[in-house]
C-alpha cells in the first residue's frame, strides 16, 4: 500500500494550489481527483474573476484570503505562465437609490484595504463604456480576470512536474482513521497518508462523513452562464456588475469579459437539491439574456455560442441569507483531517492565499524543507497570439505549427498534440479544449473534432471506444461503421 505524508482529496483550484505550494518542498504528497482532469467541477465553471475584496465582510476569512490572494496574482501569472488582465470592474447603479449601496461597498472595500476605489458619474462611465447605461458606478481597478481552468491546470501541471502525484479518475470511497494517519480506499486501490486535506468542493461533506458526523450541511447553489461570440468582445472593456441584492449572498448577474474575448453573462443563483445537477434551464437562460440587455441595450440576439453552469458550495441556505464564511480548519474530532468547507466566491482569488495557509498548517505536523531545484513551467504557446515572424520561425522548426485544426480559434495540430501530452496524462476532448482552446469557438467543434480524434488515434494510439468528452462514461462513439476484421 502506497504511503504518503499528505493526501489531498480534490483536484480543483484549491487542491491544485495546495499541491503546487507543497511541490516547493521535499514531501510525499498525492492528489485524488475523481474527474478525468483537474478543474472538473466548480473550478472551471465560474466567472474567472480575481476579486478585489469589496464584497466580503471585513475580518472574514473570505475578505482576508481574497485580498491576500489578489495581490499574489501578478507574480503568480509570471511564474506559472498563465494570463491575467487587470481590466477592473464597474459596479453600476441602475437606479438612483442604488448609489447609497455603492458608497457602502466602497466603505467595505476600504475596510478590507482595497485600494483606489472611486465612485464615477454617469458621463465618466459612458466615456469608458459607451454601451453601458447607469446613474453612477463604483470603479474597482484591482479586479482582474483569468481563465480559471488555465490557472488550475498550470498549478497542477507544475506541481506534477515537481513530483506531486496526481491520480485522475480516482474517487475516494472510504476513509479510516488509523493511529498514524488515515487509510484511503479508492476505486484505484488503497493508500495510506499521515495528513488528509479535504479540498473536495461540493463533495466535502461526503468526505467528512466517512470519518465523523458532519456538523454542517451543504446547500448547492447553481449559477448558469451564457457565453458570447468573440466577435462582440468590444461591447465592454471592464467587468460590469449590478449592485448586489441585499441578503442574497450572491453577486448578481454580471457581464465579464474573458482573456480571449468571449463575454460571459451570469451567473444566476438558484438553490438546488443535487450537487451534481449542472443543467442550464430555459427560464434562467432567457433571464440572463434579458438582464444582460438591461445593461447593454444593443446586445444582439444571436451572439450566444455556449452556455454552462457551475455550482456554489454554500454552507447556509437561502432562508438563512445565503452568506457564510469559509471554514478552513483542522477537524476537532478527527485530528490530521484539514477541512476546506464552503469555498465559493471569492474562492478562485483566495486559492493561492488559502494554499499558503494550508501548507503552514501542514508544517505544524511535518517538517518542510525546500526542494533544491524546481522544474520551471513550460508555458504553452498559442499560435493565434504570436507575431507573424514567430509563427514563421515555429513552422520552420516543426511543420505541425502550420496545420490549423481549429478554425474558429486558430489552433494548430502541434498545440493539440502538446495538450494531449500533458504531465497529468489527461486525454479527453475537454483536456484538449481547456489547454489549447480547440472546440471553444462558434462552431463548437464542428471542424476540429474530427482532427482531434485523428490525432488521438494516430499519434496517441487511443482506441475509438476510449475517447471521452470529459469523464470516464462520457464516451463519444459506439464502435465502427464497419468492423475491421483481423486476418
Amino acid at each position: 500500500m502506497r504511503d504518503f505524508q499528505v493526501a489531498i482529496i480534490g483536484g480543483g483550484v484549491i487542491g491544485s494550489a495546495i499541491a503546487w505550494e507543497l511541490s516547493k518542498y521535499n514531501i510525499d504528497a498525492i492528489v485524488f481527483e475523481k474527474g478525468s482532469d483537474v478543474a472538473s467541477g466548480s473550478s472551471k465553471a465560474n466567472s474567472g474573476v480575481i476579486h478585489s475584496g469589496i464584497n466580503s465582510s471585513p475580518s472574514s476569512l473570505k475578505a482576508r484570503f481574497c485580498v491576500e490572494g489578489n495581490q499574489m496574482f501578478k507574480s503568480l501569472a509570471n511564474e506559472l505562465g498563465f494570463q491575467v488582465n487587470w481590466i477592473g470592474k464597474y459596479v453600476i447603479a441602475k437606479k438612483e437609490e442604488d448609489i447609497k449601496e455603492l458608497e457602502h461597498l466602497k466603505g467595505v472595500g476600504e475596510k478590507n484595504n482595497v485600494s483606489s476605489l472611486e465612485i464615477k458619474n454617469r458621463l465618466s462611465v459612458k466615456l469608458k463604456e459607451p454601451n453601458v447605461d447607469c446613474h453612477a458606478a463604483l470603479w474597482v481597478p484591482t479586479a482582474g480576470i483569468i481563465e480559471p481552468y488555465e490557472f488550475t491546470i498550470a498549478l497542477a501541471e507544475n506541481a506534477a512536474e515537481n513530483k506531486i502525484n496526481f491520480l485522475l479518475e480516482t474517487k475516494v470511497t472510504d476513509l479510516k482513521k488509523q493511529k498514524n494517519g488515515f487509510k484511503i480506499k479508492t476505486n484505484k486501490g488503497e493508500f495510506q497518508t499521515q495528513l488528509l486535506v479535504n479540498a473536495a468542493g461540493l463533495n466535502c461533506r461526503e468526505i467528512v462523513s466517512m470519518l465523523e458526523k458532519p456538523d454542517f450541511n451543504i446547500y448547492p447553489c447553481r449559477g448558469e452562464y451564457l457565453v458570447l461570440d468573440r466577435n462582440y468582445h468590444s461591447l465592454i472593456k471592464s467587468m460590469i456588475y449590478p449592485v448586489p441584492k441585499k441578503h442574497s449572498g450572491v453577486l448578481g448577474i454580471h457581464l465579464t469579459p474573458t482573456i480571449k474575448g468571449n463575454i460571459l453573462i451570469g451567473p444566476s443563483a438558484e438553490f438546488i437539491d443535487d450537487i451534481d445537477d449542472k443543467k442550464t434551464t430555459d427560464k434562467t437562460m432567457k433571464t440572463l439574456l434579458k438582464e444582460a440587455k438591461e445593461i447593454i441595450p444593443n446586445l444582439p440576439n444571436n451572439s450566444i455560442i455556449n452556455a454552462y453552469s457551475g455550482i456554489r458550495c454554500k454552507l447556509v441556505s437561502d432562508k438563512d441569507g445565503g452568506w457564510a464564511d469559509y471554514r478552513i480548519e483542522e477537524s476537532k474530532k478527527t485530528p490530521g483531517l484539514i477541512n476546506l468547507l464552503g469555498i465559493e466566491s471569492p474562492g478562485l482569488t483566495a486559492a493561492p492565499a488559502i494554499a499558503k495557509k494550508i501548507v503552514q498548517m501542514i508544517s505544524q505536523y511535518i517538517e518542510l524543507g525546500y526542494k533544491k531545484r524546481l522544474k520551471t513551467v513550460k508555458k504553452r504557446k498559442h499560435f493565434s497570439e504570436l507575431s507573424e515572424q514567430n509563427q514563421v520561425k515555429l513552422i520552420k522548426k516543426d511543420k505541425r505549427w502550420g496545420r490549423i485544426v481549429c478554425r474558429c480559434e486558430n489552433v494548430t495540430e502541434i498545440e493539440v498534440a502538446q495538450a494531449l501530452s500533458n504531465p497529468l496524462d489527461s486525454k479527453t476532448i475537454s483536456s484538449v479544449k481547456y489547454r489549447c482552446r480547440a472546440g471553444m469557438g462558434r462552431c463548437q467543434g464542428g471542424f476540429c473534432t474530427q482532427h482531434i480524434i485523428k490525432i488521438m488515434q494516430k499519434k496517441f494510439g487511443m482506441n475509438i471506444d476510449d475517447i471521452t468528452l470529459r469523464s470516464p462514461n462520457s464516451k463519444l462513439f459506439y464502435g465502427r461503421t464497419r468492423e475491421v476484421k483481423d486476418e
Binding site: T481, R482, V484, K485
Partner: protein, 124 residues
C-alpha cells in the same frame, strides 16, 4: 384490394395519391395532379424500388471506407438482405469510382458500384 396512400416525390408539391391495389393491378381513386404522379404511384404501389447507398471497408487506402451504390433501384423489400451482403465485403485499395464491387447482387440484376475513388495509402 388494399388501400394505400402514396406520397408522390416527383415534384415539391408531394401530392398524396390514394390507390387501391391487389399487388398486380392498381386503381387510382384520388389525389393525383399529373401523369408523372400516376406513373410514379403505379410503380410505387406495384413494384417499389430504391437506390441503395452505403459504404464498404477498404484495406490499405487513404480512407477506411469507400461509398457504394446500386447502379439501379433495387426492390425495396430486398434492401436489408442486400445490405447484409455488402457489409461482408472488404476491398483492397485502390478503388476507382464506378468500379463494380458486386455484380448482380442477390440475383436482382443490379450491380453495386463504388462512388468514390480511394487511392492507396502512401507509406508516410
Amino acid at each position: 384490394m388494399n388501400e394505400k396512400t402514396i406520397t408522390c416525390i416527383i415534384c415539391p408539391i408531394g401530392c398524396k395519391i390514394f390507390v387501391k391495389t391487389n399487388g398486380k393491378r392498381i386503381r387510382f381513386t384520388a389525389g393525383y395532379k399529373c401523369k408523372k404522379g400516376i406513373d410514379y404511384a403505379k410503380n410505387e404501389a406495384l413494384d417499389p424500388r430504391r437506390i441503395l447507398t452505403t459504404s464498404i471497408l477498404v484495406k490499405g487506402g487513404e480512407w477506411p471506407l469507400v461509398s457504394v451504390k446500386s447502379i439501379k433501384p433495387v426492390p425495396k423489400d430486398k434492401l436489408f438482405p442486400i445490405l447484409k451482403q455488402i457489409k461482408k465485403i472488404t476491398i483492397n485499395a485502390p478503388v476507382i469510382s464506378g468500379q463494380i464491387i458486386i455484380k448482380n447482387v442477390l440475383n436482382t440484376g443490379v450491380d453495386i458500384v463504388a462512388t468514390k475513388t480511394i487511392k492507396k495509402q502512401s507509406i508516410n
